[in-house]
């Protein structure tokens, strides 16, 4: 190893070295073909070149969200009001949680079409066992979630043992579990959850107080900055290049400003809903699981090249099983949250556009339909887009007919961007 350990003591990485002496360059920047890009301007240059080559990440969805919000704000000045934005976050939560599961199956290049039915079934189980049978709430909630997990394992078994395409398995599930939901609900077909039950309170009346929300921001930004600085220290100690502190500072600052503006706006009304915080936590945890664990790396590998993953000794079956199970579990959790927010369970719980909204959210957010590419954050961003459209159109007193057409248009645009950027990535060697 020619890399000097003493290179870590002098901050060579922050400045462009005068002499390109390999002895002082970090181990990963020694190749003469690498285009040197350091400092804040270098980071911006690298970012734009990535965009040009078609590696768009979450840029299209963020742009789309800004455009959608601007259009609705012009059409109706109440759209960006604190009150409406609090409603928006409440409406986003269940779609976002269900979409998280879809992101996972899409990373494998598979699909789950039954998430709506599974979420409805979980809600029905909660309603019947908690309201009619008088089970303790916690037990009913666990029963609903476990049902989701079992359904996912069942899908995984069918897929891995018999090789039935996930499209067909979950299409059968869509119909079958809708039937089961109606069966569980019985003749009345509609149940109201008690207003004073903790789950309903959590979903409708629980908001972070201003003080708690500011503490939340401070802790989040501090954790982010600390983990980035720690990572930087480790990289420098290992003789690798690392992002300069200036970039870490800029990123942490951007994060702080974004969170602060959101929270100040939300605090103008009831504040940040606890339910939305739950979604944020789930997104961050899923992101860590996908990017930073062996399981997540295996998921990406299976989504990219199953045969290579199998030959590398990855237990491919286990990956399919766990991902299908996670997806159905997220669907069940989303169904419970939706039921709690609407304070009711009925035959149309999880029906209508729940299914396609969640799938559209994941795709609009930038997770590829072709497998091996995407992130947990796409569930959050995509859900915000989908919910913004339906929220904005209902503010304009437009019916669901317009909403369906607009959502369809946005979905088509998102899928087209995915396909085009995939082609561009291949042309630029970033597939």
């Amino acid at each position: 190893m020619t890399t000097p350990v003493d290179g870590s003591k002098t901050p060579v990485q922050d400045t462009v070295p005068e002499a390109q002496d390999p002895a002082v360059l970090p181990a990963d920047l020694q190749d003469e073909r690498l285009i040197a890009s350091r400092g804040v301007s270098g980071a911006i240059a690298a970012f734009t070149s990535r965009l040009r080559s078609g590696d768009l990440g979450s840029v299209p969805v963020v742009l789309g969200l800004i455009i959608i919000w601007a259009v609705f704000q012009i059409a109706n000045s109440n759209f960006l009001s604190s009150r409406n934005l609090v409603n928006l976050t409440l409406q986003t939560t269940s779609v976002g949680v269900i979409a998280l599961g879809i992101v996972l199956v899409l990373l494998l290049g598979e699909i789950d079409l039954s998430i709506g039915s599974v979420s409805g079934l979980a809600a029905a189980i909660l309603g019947v066992t908690f309201v009619n049978e008088g089970w303790p709430l916690a037990l009913s909630v666990v029963a609903g979630i476990v049902t989701g997990a079992v359904i996912g394992l069942f899908y995984g078994l069918l897929y891995t043992r018999f090789g039935v395409p996930s499209f067909v398995i979950t299409l059968a599930g869509l119909l079958g579990f809708l039937g089961l939901q109606l069966l569980v609900l019985g003749k009345e077909g509609s149940l109201n959850l008690p207003f004073d039950s903790p789950i309903v309170k959590f979903a409708t009346q629980s908001f972070l107080s201003p003080v708690v929300s500011y503490i939340f921001i401070a802790v989040t930004v501090a954790l982010y900055a600390l983990s980035r600085l720690r990572g930087r220290g480790q990289r420098l100690a290992a003789g690798l290049s690392a992002a300069p502190t200036s970039i870490i500072g800029v990123k942490a600052g951007a994060l702080a400003v974004t969170l602060l503006i959101s929270v100040i706006v939300l605090n103008g009304d009831r504040g940040m809903p606890s339910m939305f915080l739950l979604l944020l936590v789930l997104v961050v945890l899923t992101d860590i699981a996908v990017r930073r664990t062996r399981w997540g790396r295996s998921v990406m590998a299976v989504g990219g090249n199953v045969e290579a993953a199998r030959r590398a000794g990855i237990n491919v079956r286990m990956i399919y099983l766990t991902v299908f199970a996670a997806c159905s579990t997220f669907a069940a959790v989303g169904g419970l949250l939706a039921a709690a927010r609407l304070v009711a369970v009925n035959q149309s719980s999880g029906g209508g556009d729940t299914n396609l909204n969640a799938i559209a959210a994941a795709v609009i957010g930038g997770t590829s339909l072709f497998g091996g590419r995407g992130s947990a954050y796409s569930a959050l961003l995509g859900a915000l887009v989908i919910v913004s459209i339906s929220n904005g159109l209902s503010l304009l007193s437009l019916d669901s007919n317009v909403r369906y057409i607009v959502t369809a248009g946005v979905l088509l645009v998102a899928v087209t961007i995915d396909s085009l950027s995939r082609r561009s990535r291949q042309a630029h060697g970033r597939a």
């Binding site: 990289r235 290992a238 590998a301 990855i314 970033r430």
Partner: protein, 271 residues
């Protein structure tokens, strides 16, 4: 009655030895009584025409197929290899022609796929990246960055990544299936350098190739297969390409040697 030849005794210092290995697929005898000795720090080229049994032999050693008959001795111990994973655990690494890389993952992720380093429950990206560079530098491999998806690498670089990955399991034998097929001139040279680097590390390298120039450039010995049987083992420094080609095709008056002889004659007449 056919007389079974008495197997040659296995010389000391042989890391992998095959004796009387046979494999048939239905009515086809793909391999018959194959003998092969592989020594550490040596590049053994495995050559033969299409259908000579090279791929079958490689897959048998790698554990993809199981031999019908014969014995395989690894490090002085007779072994049975039932699966590719078992072969890898023994210390036999194989780089197949399709390389089996995940295009969407970066070089580090591909190198450590299935055996990621961890710190607690999370991946230790820093240590993986550091040792990736260490390994690639030892192989003098020219990879510009280990944080780009392998889709953006050239054919030779992808081959390098696949070979480097096979080394992570500390193998004693590395089998390369046509590593230079479909590579350009410079990239071929790069891969051949890499093969020499493997030899310097004391590994036994089995190189399957159709390209006689590559074989003569890098191999120490050449084992020729013809119609599923051994058809001679040559020491490269003492052999002419023509003799090997004769062994591959099974005749001295074949199209290749006739052509070569004609060229030599013409050149002789011209000068």
């Amino acid at each position: 009655m056919t007389v079974t030849p008495t197997p040659t005794p296995i010389a000391a210092g042989t890391v992998l030895a095959l004796r009387g290995v046979s494999k048939r697929f239905g009515a086809v005898q793909a391999l018959k009584n194959i003998e092969l000795d592989v020594r550490p720090g040596e590049v053994l080229a495995l050559v033969g025409d299409n259908g000579a049994g090279k791929s079958t032999l490689v897959k048998t050693i790698a554990g993809v197929y199981t031999a019908d008959d014969g014995q395989m001795v690894f490090d002085g111990q007779e072994v049975r290899v039932g699966s590719p994973a078992e072969a890898q655990q023994l210390g036999i690494a194989t780089v197949f022609q399709d390389l089996a890389l995940c295009d969407n993952l970066d070089v580090v992720a591909n190198l450590y796929l299935g055996s990621e380093l961890r710190k607690g429950n999370l991946l230790d990206e820093v240590e993986m990246e550091r040792s990736s560079w260490e390994l690639l530098r030892q192989l003098s491999a020219k990879i510009p960055s280990v944080r780009i998806p392998v889709a953006s690498l050239s054919g030779g670089q992808r081959q390098t990544v696949a070979i480097a990955r096979s080394l992570l399991g500390q193998p004693k034998v590395v089998m390369l299936d046509e590593p230079t097929a479909a590579l350009g001139v410079a990239q071929t040279a790069e891969v051949l350098n890499l093969v020499e680097r493997l030899r310097e590390r004391g590994l036994a390298v089995i190189l399957i190739s159709h390209n006689m120039a590559d074989v003569m450039a890098v191999a120490d010995r050449v084992a020729v297969l013809r119609l599923g049987r051994n058809n001679g083992i040559f020491t490269v420094s003492e052999t002419k390409t023509q003799d090997i080609i004769a062994a591959i095709t099974g005749a001295t008056d074949n199209a290749v040697s006739e052509r070569a002889a004609r060229r030599t004659r013409e050149e002789g007449a011209a000068s």
